[in-house]
C-alpha cells in the first residue's frame, strides 16, 4: 500500500516537473549561445542585466531627468519646450539675505521646510532612539505577554502612512477623541494640529508612534546578541543595574544604535505622507517639510505655475543630504562588519 502511494507521489511530481523542465530547457536554449559568445566568466553580468535594466529605467534615468529639469525653467513638462540650461532655480533657492531668517529668502517656503526638517529630524530621531531602547530593554526582560507586546509595538509599522495620518487626525482634531477625553475631565480643548506651538510636537509624536516598532526590533536584536555571561560576571561582582546598563548594555548596543540613528535620519528627512494627511503642512508652514515643498512646487500648485525646475533643484539638494547620510551608513556598517571579522 505504502509502495503504491509512493509511486503515485513520484508520478505526480514528475508531471509537475514537466513545465519546469520545459522552462529550463527554453532558458538554456537562450543562455547557451550567449555563454558561447561572452564566456562563462562574464555570465554573471547577463543574470544581473534584468535588474540593471529596471534600475536604470526607474532610478538612473529619472535621476538624470531630474538633474536636467533642475537646470531648466518654464512651466512646460517636455524638455523640448523648456528653457535650458540655466542655474536660475539654484540661484532662486539659495537667494537669501540671511539663511537663518527664511523671511529674507526668495524661496522662503523652501527654507522654512529646511528648518522644519532639521527640527523634526533632531527631535524625532533623538526621541525615537530613546523610546526604542527603553521599549527594547523592557521587551527583552522576561515579562508576562512578551510576545504579545512585541507584536503590539511592531503593529503600527505595518500601517500605511495615510492610515496613520487619518487615525491620528481623528484622535487629535479639536473635536477629536483626545479632546473629548480632556473635556470629560473638565479640561479645555487643545488645538493639537492647528496651534503652531502644538502642531510640530504632535507630528513628531505620531511619527515616533508609527515607526518606533521597527527600530525597537533592531535594538532588541542587538540586546539579544550581548553575551549573557557579561551580565552574570557583573552581577557576581555586585555591579548596580544602572552601571550594568551604561557600562555593558549601551556600549555593546552602539553599533545597532548607529544603524538606527542613520536609518531613522534618512527616513526622517524623507517624511511627507503622514504629515501631509495629518496637518497638510500647517498651521501656516509650521509642519511643512522639504518633501512637501517639492511636492507642492512641482505637482500640487492648485492652479499656480507648476514649477518643475524649482522642485527638481530642491530634490537635488535633498538628494545630496540623503547621499551623505547613506554614505555614513555604508561607512559605519562596513566598519562594524570588519570589526566583527577581526573578532
Amino acid at each position: 500500500m505504502e509502495n503504491i502511494r509512493n509511486q503515485t507521489k513520484i508520478f505526480f511530481l514528475r508531471i509537475l516537473n514537466i513545465p519546469f523542465a520545459f522552462l529550463m530547457h527554453a532558458i538554456d536554449l537562450i543562455m547557451w549561445p550567449i555563454q558561447k559568445i561572452i564566456g562563462v566568466r562574464n555570465m554573471p553580468y547577463i543574470f544581473l542585466l534584468p535588474n540593471l535594466i529596471f534600475f536604470g529605467l526607474f532610478v538612473i534615468i529619472p535621476l538624470g531627468a531630474n538633474f536636467f529639469f533642475s537646470l531648466s525653467s518654464g512651466d512646460e513638462l517636455l524638455f523640448a519646450e523648456r528653457e535650458l540650461p540655466t542655474t536660475k532655480q539654484y540661484n532662486q533657492l539659495f537667494d537669501c539675505e540671511s539663511y537663518l531668517n527664511p523671511n529674507t529668502c526668495t524661496e522662503d517656503f523652501f527654507w522654512r521646510g529646511v528648518y522644519n526638517t532639521i527640527f523634526f529630524v533632531v527631535f524625532q530621531v533623538g526621541l525615537m532612539i530613546f523610546f526604542s531602547v527603553l521599549t527594547a530593554v523592557i521587551l527583552n526582560k522576561k515579562i508576562i505577554g512578551r510576545g504579545f507586546f512585541r507584536s503590539v509595538f511592531f503593529f503600527p509599522v505595518l500601517l500605511s502612512p495615510v492610515v496613520v495620518g487619518l487615525i491620528w487626525q481623528w484622535i487629535l482634531l479639536k473635536n477629536g477623541a483626545f479632546n473629548a477625553i480632556i473635556e470629560s475631565y473638565g479640561g479645555d480643548k487643545v488645538s493639537f494640529l492647528t496651534d503652531p506651538s502644538w502642531a510640530m510636537a504632535s507630528v513628531i509624536f505620531v511619527s515616533i508612534w508609527a515607526h518606533m516598532g521597527f527600530y525597537t526590533l533592531i535594538v532588541l536584536a542587538g540586546l539579544q546578541a550581548i553575551p549573557p555571561n557579561l551580565y552574570e560576571a557583573a552581577e557576581m561582582d555586585g555591579t548596580s543595574r544602572e552601571r550594568i546598563f551604561f557600562r555593558i548594555t549601551l556600549p555593546l548596543l552602539m553599533p545597532n544604535l548607529l544603524v538606527v540613528f542613520i536609518l531613522a535620519s534618512i527616513k526622517g528627512v524623507q517624511t511627507f505622507d503622514e504629515i501631509y494627511v495629518l496637518t497638510g503642512g500647517g498651521p501656516g508652514t509650521s509642519t511643512s517639510l522639504i518633501v512637501q515643498y517639492i511636492f507642492t512646487t512641482g505637482f500640487a500648485s492648485s492652479g499656480s505655475v507648476q514649477n518643475f525646475g524649482l522642485a527638481a533643484a530642491a530634490s537635488m539638494v535633498l538628494g545630496v543630504v540623503l547621499l551623505f547620510l547613506t554614505l555614513m551608513q555604508l561607512y559605519f556598517s562596513r566598519n562594524k562588519e570588519s570589526k566583527h571579522q577581526e573578532i
Binding site: G284, S302, V305, Q306
Partner: protein, 426 residues
C-alpha cells in the same frame, strides 16, 4: 507528410479567421470618450452619471467613460496629465483660463456653433486664449456666485434682525458676533479658505487687481483693507484659526462640518453649496443666503463656475458636448443639483421643496447683475489663480504669526511676479 500539410493549413485558416474577427471587432468598436469629472458629492455625480448612461444607450457608436475624481485631481493631476499629453477628452474644470493652452477647438464637430455663442456667449471668452474670439472649447456646466449664508435659526434665537442689502462687512461681523455671544455659538464667522472667496469682498473694498495696462497688480489699498480685516477677525476670535491656519500654502478648506453642526453664524462661500446644504442641513436649522456685504467701492461677490471643456476635438467629442449642453439635459442637471445655470436662456424647474434652498437660489441669481466689472475681469483672467493662491498662502502665514501683514503683502506681490516670470520668461 500529408498530416503536416493539413496541420499547417488548419493553422493558417485559424489565423486568418482570428485576424478577420479582430479587424471587424476593431472597426465596429465604439469610439471611447473619456470625461474627467469632479462633483460635489452624489447630488452632482448621480445626475451626470444618469445622463451619460442615457447617452451611451442612445449612441452605441460612442462609449462615454465617466471618471469621477476628487477636486484635487482636477486642480493638481489634470494639468500634469495634459502637459504629458495624456489628458482625458473632456474634463470639468474650474481653472478656466489657466488650462487654455490645452483646450481643443470643437467648432467643426458641434451641430450648431451659433447655439454655443447664443447660450454661453460671455463665458466662452473665459476659456479662450487672449486674442481668440471664435473658438468653442466647451460650455459652462454651472455658474456660481460667491456670497454669504447665515444660520437664520441662530439669528431668531438671539433676537437679532438679519441685515438687508447695503450692509457693510463690518456690520455683518458685528451682528454675527452678537448672535454668537447670545446663543453660545463658538464661531461667529467662517470663510472658505480660498483666494477666490476673498476677492469679491476685496473688490468691494476697492481692490483693482490690475494696473492701468491690464497686467496683474495684486496688492493695493482695497486688497490691504480686506485682508487686514480678515487678519483682525482671526486675531479677535471672530473667525477661528482652526480653518485658515490649519493647512499650509494655497490648500482649499471649507467650513462645511462646522456649518452643518450649527457652530457657525455666518459662512462665506457661494452658490454651489445650496444643493449640499439642502441635503446635509435638511431641517436641522434654517439657513439663508444674504446679499453680498458692501465695502466703499461695491457690494459684489465673484462670478465663477465650472465648465466642461474639450481637450480632444473629434466628432464623438462634439456629439457628447452637444448632448450635455443641450437645453433639455442642462435644465434637468441644474434642476437636480440646485445651481445657477451658465446657460443664458434656460428655464429650470428646481427639484426641491426646501424653502431655504429656494430663497438662496433667488438671492444668488439676483446677485448676478450686481457683480462688479473688476470681478468679471478677474474671473476671466488667465492668471487669476496665481493671484488667488498668493493671497491665501501669505494671509494664512500672517494669521498664524509667521509674518506680519506688511510682509505678507510684499510677499503676495513677489509671489505673483515670480510665477509670471516663470510662466512667461523674463
Amino acid at each position: 507528410m500529408m498530416n503536416f500539410k493539413f496541420i499547417l493549413k488548419a493553422i493558417s485558416v485559424a489565423l486568418v479567421s482570428f485576424s478577420l474577427t479582430l479587424i471587424s471587432a476593431v472597426s465596429f468598436a465604439a469610439t471611447d470618450v473619456r470625461i474627467m469629472w469632479y462633483g460635489d458629492g452624489d447630488k452632482e455625480n448621480v445626475p451626470i452619471a444618469a445622463q451619460i448612461d442615457e447617452f451611451n444607450a442612445a449612441n452605441p457608436d460612442i462609449n462615454v467613460i465617466l471618471d469621477i475624481v476628487p477636486y484635487d485631481a482636477i486642480m493638481n493631476t489634470l494639468p500634469i496629465q495634459l502637459a504629458a499629453g495624456e489628458g482625458p477628452d473632456i474634463a470639468r474644470v474650474t481653472d478656466l483660463g489657466g488650462l487654455n493652452k490645452y483646450y481643443a477647438d470643437i467648432t467643426p464637430y458641434v451641430a450648431d456653433p451659433s447655439y454655443y455663442e447664443k447660450s454661453f456667449g460671455p463665458f466662452l471668452n473665459w476659456y479662450r486664449k487672449p486674442g481668440d474670439t471664435t473658438s468653442i472649447h466647451g460650455f459652462h456646466s454651472t455658474m456660481t456666485v460667491t456670497g454669504p449664508y447665515v444660520n437664520k435659526t441662530l439669528f431668531e434665537q438671539a433676537g437679532v434682525d438679519l441685515l438687508g442689502p447695503g450692509a457693510t462687512w463690518e456690520e455683518w461681523a458685528a451682528v454675527s458676533i452678537e448672535v454668537a455671544e447670545k446663543t453660545g455659538t463658538p464661531i461667529p464667522m467662517a470663510w472658505d479658505r480660498s483666494g477666490h472667496r476673498v476677492s469679491g469682498p476685496a473688490i468691494s473694498m476697492g481692490a483693482k487687481y490690475f494696473d492701468s495696462n491690464g497686467d496683474p497688480k495684486l496688492v493695493d489699498d482695497g486688497l490691504k483693507a480686506m485682508t487686514q480685516m480678515l487678519y483682525d477677525w482671526h486675531q479677535a476670535g471672530t473667525m477661528s484659526k482652526d480653518l485658515w491656519g490649519s493647512v499650509s500654502g494655497s490648500k482649499y478648506h471649507a467650513p462645511n462640518d462646522w456649518w452643518n453642526a450649527a457652530e457657525v453664524v455666518f459662512m462665506m462661500s457661494g452658490s454651489w453649496q445650496i444643493g449640499r446644504f439642502a441635503n446635509e442641513v435638511g431641517d436641522d436649522f434654517d439657513w439663508w443666503a444674504v446679499p453680498a456685504p458692501c465695502g466703499p467701492a461695491a457690494c459684489t461677490g465673484m462670478p465663477g463656475g465650472n465648465a466642461l471643456l474639450a481637450f480632444n476635438a473629434n466628432p464623438a467629442v462634439g456629439k457628447v458636448m452637444d448632448y450635455l449642453s443641450s437645453k433639455e439635459q442642462l435644465s434637468s442637471f441644474i434642476g437636480q443639483v440646485l445651481a445657477i445655470p451658465g446657460h443664458l436662456d434656460l428655464q429650470v424647474d428646481y427639484q426641491t421643496d426646501d424653502p431655504n434652498a429656494k430663497h438662496a437660489l433667488n438671492t444668488f441669481a439676483g446677485a448676478v447683475p450686481t457683480i462688479d466689472q473688476v470681478a468679471f475681469d478677474l474671473q476671466a483672467h488667465v492668471d487669476n489663480r496665481i493671484m488667488f493662491n498668493a493671497i491665501i498662502s501669505r494671509l494664512g502665514q500672517a494669521i498664524v504669526g509667521e509674518m506680519t501683514m506688511e510682509e505678507a503683502w510684499t510677499r503676495m506681490d513677489e509671489d505673483v511676479e515670480k510665477q509670471l516670470k516663470e510662466k512667461y520668461g523674463g
